[in-house]
């Protein structure tokens, strides 16, 4: 399985390198977007009202601040999960939602709702993560038994596999009258984020950081079993660590804000075109772009039909689809 059609991009990459930004500038962009995210909303919260009006302060602390934090955490970790699984499967077209991970997390979530309806969020996350882990492992086993002639094969297989699990989930949810609950869990929506309901995302952030420490192992595993083993790595072990990280983070995101479509697919690809796939170098950029895109899409969704909120699934879906098409055309054109 080989994916190599970046050859014509060097000029593009060089052009970007000309305007290579400094880390400070990256931070500035994120801070700017966070500030915008904090100040945009149905109720006007300005800097002055924040100081004088206790109601505004309460809205700020209970809703705005958590929402912005959730956007940054979920955006950065989703993008990083995409980058990690792309290395683990050695394929640029997979992400947690095209390899059954998200659907399996949904299945786990449903199992939790059915059997432990009063479970605290932490437990819900654990059950969703367990589902995600099993589903991902099944997908990887499936992948080994199918000949890989085309780089599009793994994601297609994963989408079909995820579809089956998703259908089973829907069927069971329908039988137990949980369709509504499930769809509100699964669709990415940051308007529901309130203080006390999103803190699990800090767990996701922490585990993602752990993934960054193992970055070299993931990059090495993505160079193929023979090279990895020749350099003293145990690829199976790395795969196990990788799926565990991805499953826990996906579980945490699914039970808090819902999985953001396309993010894990396009962000690592954009960064790979620009800076390559060496995760130690690229993961900070992947996290940055993931956070920036999530913040931007959410702010746009809040402004376009002001004072109504367009869910991020819609805005990111449109933007992501356009970028993904562009990436595909670049690659195969």
């Amino acid at each position: 399985m080989t994916v190599r059609s970046y050859t014509s991009t060097s000029q593009w990459a060089r052009a970007v390198n000309l305007v290579q930004m400094k880390p400070l500038l990256y931070c500035f962009v994120v801070v700017l977007l966070i500030a915008a995210s904090l100040l945009v909303g149905a109720t006007g919260v300005g800097l002055t009202s924040l100081l004088t009006d206790p109601d505004a302060r309460e809205i700020f602390l209970i809703s705005r601040l958590p929402r912005s934090a959730a956007l940054v955490l979920a955006g950065a970790s989703s993008a990083i999960m995409g980058a990690i699984v792309q290395r683990l499967v050695s394929n640029h077209f997979v992400e947690p939602s095209t390899m059954g991970t998200v659907d399996s997390a949904g299945f786990g979530l449903l199992a939790g709702l059915l059997f432990l309806p009063d479970a605290p969020p932490m437990w819900r996350m654990v059950i969703a993560a367990a589902g995600a882990w099993l589903g991902t492992a099944m997908f990887l086993l499936l992948l080994r038994s199918v000949p890989m002639r085309s780089p599009l094969m793994p994601p297609l297989l994963g989408i079909a596999f995820g579809g089956i699990i998703g259908s089973a989930t829907s069927f069971i949810a329908y039988r137990f009258d949980l369709m509504q609950a499930m769809s509100s869990w699964m669709t990415a929506d940051f308007s529901v984020v309130l203080s006390g309901r999103y803190e699990l995302l800090y767990v996701a952030g922490g585990i993602t950081l752990l993934g960054w420490f193992a970055a070299d192992r993931f990059t090495l595993a993505g160079m193929g079993d023979d090279i990895a083993r020749g350099l003293g790595l145990n690829p199976t072990m790395v795969l196990a660590i990788g799926i565990t990280i991805v499953a826990v983070v996906t579980g945490a995101i699914v039970v808090t804000v819902g999985f953001i479509p396309f993010l894990g697919l396009i962000v690592p690809n954009l960064i790979a075109r620009w800076r390559g796939d060496n995760l130690r170098r690229s993961l900070p950029l992947v996290a940055w772009l993931g956070a920036v895109m999530t913040l931007a899409c959410d702010i746009f969704g809040r402004l376009i039909f002001h004072p109504f909120d367009l869910p991020i699934g819609v805005t990111m879906g449109v933007l992501g689809a356009v970028i993904f098409l562009w990436l595909l055309l670049k690659r195969f054109g």
């Binding site: 399985m1 080989t2 994916v3 190599r4 970046y6 050859t7 060097s10 290395r87 050695s90 394929n91 640029h92 780089p151 970055a215 070299d216 192992r217 990059t219 090495l220 993505g222 160079m223 193929g224 079993d225 023979d226 090279i227 083993r229 020749g230 350099l231 003293g232 790595l233 145990n234 790979a272 075109r273 390559g276 796939d277 060496n278 130690r280 170098r281």
Partner: protein, 252 residues
């Protein structure tokens, strides 16, 4: 010293490698030759512990290669398989730096950096170090992979058909590199080769394989003989000597 003891490898009932005993000489370049399906690559993979033997074992200084700790063995023996197309987009520097992974575990020291530099110098890719591998020619890419193996700084370096899809200019360059690694850096280089003239010219020892077995092994002069090679490849090739140099004419 690498020794092979009653080594066999069986895939789905058919035996690909079946060697009673084989001893790879220390130092120099050892070429493994033989027709397609002779089991050359499988033997190389088993020596490099990338494949598990069905029976028997490979001994490195008397110890079974499979009983080494992964990291310990990676500092003593490097192996490069053929067809190294990466799905990852890495720079030459990234790749060569990963050759130091058994030592640095991702945190390169000054010595690691020096080794990376030396390897890049040796293969002549210093000017290309920040280029992505998919922007290089086939010959440059192959040299980058060889630099990775050199940076790994092992006593033993195994290469599976490193000349595949290289033009003659690059093929000669790669063989000179391997010769340099053996003669100047004191490595034991084992290389699977298809081109008999390359084997005759650049190797010190040759192992001739056929149908999973070692037909003959020894210094070049003992293997590059008309009767032996005709039998080995079942073709009417001729071997001539001109100016003390051996030439194999595969057209007979």
């Amino acid at each position: 010293m690498i020794r092979v003891e009653s080594l066999t490898k069986t895939y789905a009932g058919s035996t690909v490698v079946d060697i009673d005993a084989l001893h790879l000489p220390q130092g120099g370049v050892t070429a493994i030759i033989g027709p397609n399906g002779a089991g050359k690559s499988t033997l190389l993979s088993m020596i490099g512990r990338l494949e598990i033997p069905s029976t028997g074992r490979v001994l490195l200084d008397g110890q079974d290669v499979r009983t080494f700790r992964n990291n310990t063995l990676a500092r003593r023996l490097a192996v490069l398989k053929q067809d190294n197309t990466l799905a990852a987009r890495l720079t030459v520097h990234d790749l060569v730096a990963f050759g130091r992974y058994p030592y640095s575990r991702g945190r390169p020291t000054q010595e690691d950096r020096e080794q990376i530099d030396a390897a890049l110098d040796l293969v002549g890719l210093q000017d290309f170090r920040y280029r992505f591998l998919d922007e290089l020619s086939g010959g440059q890419r192959q040299r980058a992979f060889i630099a990775m193996v050199l940076a790994q700084d092992t006593e033993y370096a195994l290469f599976d058909e490193p000349l595949n899809s290289l033009d003659i200019n690059h093929a000669v360059g790669v063989m000179r590199l391997l010769g340099h690694a053996a003669d100047e850096m004191g490595k034991t280089v084992v290389v699977v080769l298809h081109d008999l003239n390359f084997a005759a010219r650049h190797a010190d020892h040759i192992i001739a394989m056929q149908a999973g077995k070692v037909v003959e092994a020894g210094p070049v002069a003992r293997i590059i003989r008309e009767d032996l090679l005709r039998r080995l490849y079942d073709t009417g090739l001729t071997v001539t000597t001109r100016n003390n140099r051996v030439f194999v004419d595969v057209f007979g």
